[in-house]
Amino acid sequence: MVGAGASSLVLEVENLAASRGLRILFEGLTFRLSGGEVLELRGPNGSGKSTLLRILAGLTRAHEGTVAFKTAGEDEPGRHYLGHLDAVKPSESAAEQAEFWARYFGRDPAEAVKAMKRVGLSGREQVPGRGLSAGQKRRLALVRLLVEPRPVWLLDEPTAALDIEGRALVTQLVAEHRAGGGMVIAAIHGDGFAGSRTLDISTLSIGAVA
C-alpha cells in the first residue's frame, strides 16, 4: 500500500527545539522512529504538539536541531500533514474537493470516489463544504490520506469532532497504514492507538510500545 522501500523508513530527530514568539516550547528532543511504528504525542495545550508536527511536516522552522526522514531510496519519503483545519472550501461540493485532491497529487479522480466511500461520505457527494458538519469536514480531510499513498502521516488530533464510528475509522486507517510499513505521528487526547509509542512533550519522555 505504501510502496517499495517503506520498510526501511526511519525518522531521526536530534536535539530538536521549538519556539513560539520569544518562548521556547521544548528543547533537547531526540528520538528515532521506524516504519510500521505509531507515535502518539501527549501533553497539555500549549506544550508544542502541533508545533512539533508542523516542524516534521516542514511547515515551521525548528529553533534548533535536525529532522531527517530516510528510506532506502534517495528521495525523501512523502509526507501527509493533517492539521486542525480541514482545508474544506465552503462553495465546492464534497466530491469536487475529493477529486481536486486526487488531481492535485496526479491521481485518477476515480481514486477520490473510492476514498469518499471509505471515509463514509457516500451520499454526501453533492453537498457543498458549508453544508458539511464538523465531523464530515474532518472525514473529507481524511480523503487526502487515501487518494495518495504516502509513507509518513502527520496527524494533529485526527479524531477531534468525529463520532464513535469516525474514531473507529481513524483507528482502522492507522492500523492498516502501519501494517503496510507506514509511519504515523499523531497528537492526540483521550484514547490512543493500540501498540503505539508515546511521547509526552511536556516532559520529553518517550515510552516503549504500550
Binding site: S19, R20, G21, L22, R23, H63, E64
Partner: protein, 238 residues
C-alpha cells in the same frame, strides 16, 4: 542555529556597541556643524540662485543618505534571509526610522529649495525628488510591516522580503519616473566650491546615521530581552 542568541546573550555586542554608538553620534554632530558652518559662512553665494542654494548643504547629503540607508537595510535583509541572524533583523529594523526621517528631510528641504527656484513647492518634473518620494512610501510600508505582524520572527522575514522587493523595483521605478519627467526636466547643478562642504556634511550624516542606528539597535535588543525575561519569569511562576 542560534538565531536568537543575540537576545539571550547580548553582553559582547552591548559592551562594544556602547562606545561606537555614542562616539559616532558625537562625531557626526560635530562634523555636520563644521560642514554647515562652511556652507553658510565661508562659501560665497551661488552665481545664479544666490543664498537660497545654501540649503543644498542639508538637502543633497540627505538625498544621498536616504539611498545609503536603504542599501544598508537591503544588505541586512539579505543576511537575515540567507543566514537568519537576528542581529541583521535588528539592524534593518533600527535603520528604517532613521532612513525614513532622512528621506523626509530630503523631501522637505527639496521642496523649500524648489519654491524660490521653480516658483512651486512641489515639482513633478524633478525625477530624483519624485523617486525619493516613492522611496519614502516604501520606508513607510516597511515600518508598517514590522508593526503589523504577530511575532517578531515573522515580522523580520516579511519586512526583509518587502525590503528586497523594493530594492529590485527601485531602479525600474526611477527609470519610469525619469521617463515621466522628460516632459520638463529640471536639474540641480552645484559648482565645485559648493561640493566640499556638501561632502563634509555627508560624512557627518553618515556617522550620525551609524550612531543613531546603533543606539536604536541597543534599545531594541534590551526591549526584546526584557520581554523574554518577563515571559520566562511568568512561565516559571505559572
Amino acid at each position: 542555529m542560534a538565531v536568537m542568541s543575540i537576545f539571550a546573550n547580548p553582553h559582547r555586542f552591548m559592551a562594544v556597541s556602547k562606545w561606537f554608538a555614542w562616539g559616532f553620534t558625537a562625531l557626526g554632530s560635530v562634523v555636520i556643524l563644521i560642514g554647515v558652518y562652511f556652507g553658510l559662512f565661508v562659501v560665497p553665494p551661488d552665481a545664479v540662485q544666490g543664498d537660497s542654494a545654501r540649503i543644498m548643504f542639508v538637502h543633497v547629503p540627505a538625498m544621498w543618505l536616504c539611498l545609503f540607508a536603504y542599501a544598508f537595510m537591503v544588505g541586512a535583509s539579505l543576511i537575515s534571509i540567507v543566514w537568519r541572524h537576528a542581529l541583521a533583523d535588528v539592524a534593518a529594523k533600527s535603520a528604517a526610522p532613521i532612513g525614513a526621517g532622512v528621506t523626509a528631510l530630503g523631501l522637505i528641504t527639496g521642496s523649500i529649495w524648489g519654491y524660490p527656484t521653480w516658483g512651486t513647492w512641489w515639482e513633478w518634473g524633478d525625477a530624483r525628488l519624485v523617486s525619493v518620494l516613492v522611496l519614502f512610501f516604501i520606508y513607510l510600508g516597511y515600518m508598517a510591516i514590522w508593526q503589523a505582524m504577530e511575532t517578531p520572527q515573522k515580522a523580520a522575514r516579511a519586512a526583509a522580503i518587502l525590503c528586497l522587493a523594493g530594492a529590485v523595483n527601485l531602479p525600474i521605478i526611477h527609470f519610469s519616473v525619469e521617463w515621466f519627467a522628460t516632459l520638463h526636466q529640471v536639474s540641480m547643478k552645484a559648482s565645485d566650491e559648493f561640493k566640499y562642504p556638501m561632502y563634509v556634511v555627508a560624512l557627518g550624516y553618515l556617522a550620525l546615521f551609524g550612531g543613531l542606528t546603533l543606539l536604536n539597535m541597543r534599545a531594541e535588543i534590551m526591549n526584546t530581552r526584557a520581554e523574554m525575561l518577563a515571559q520566562r519569569r511568568q512561565a516559571a511562576a505559572g
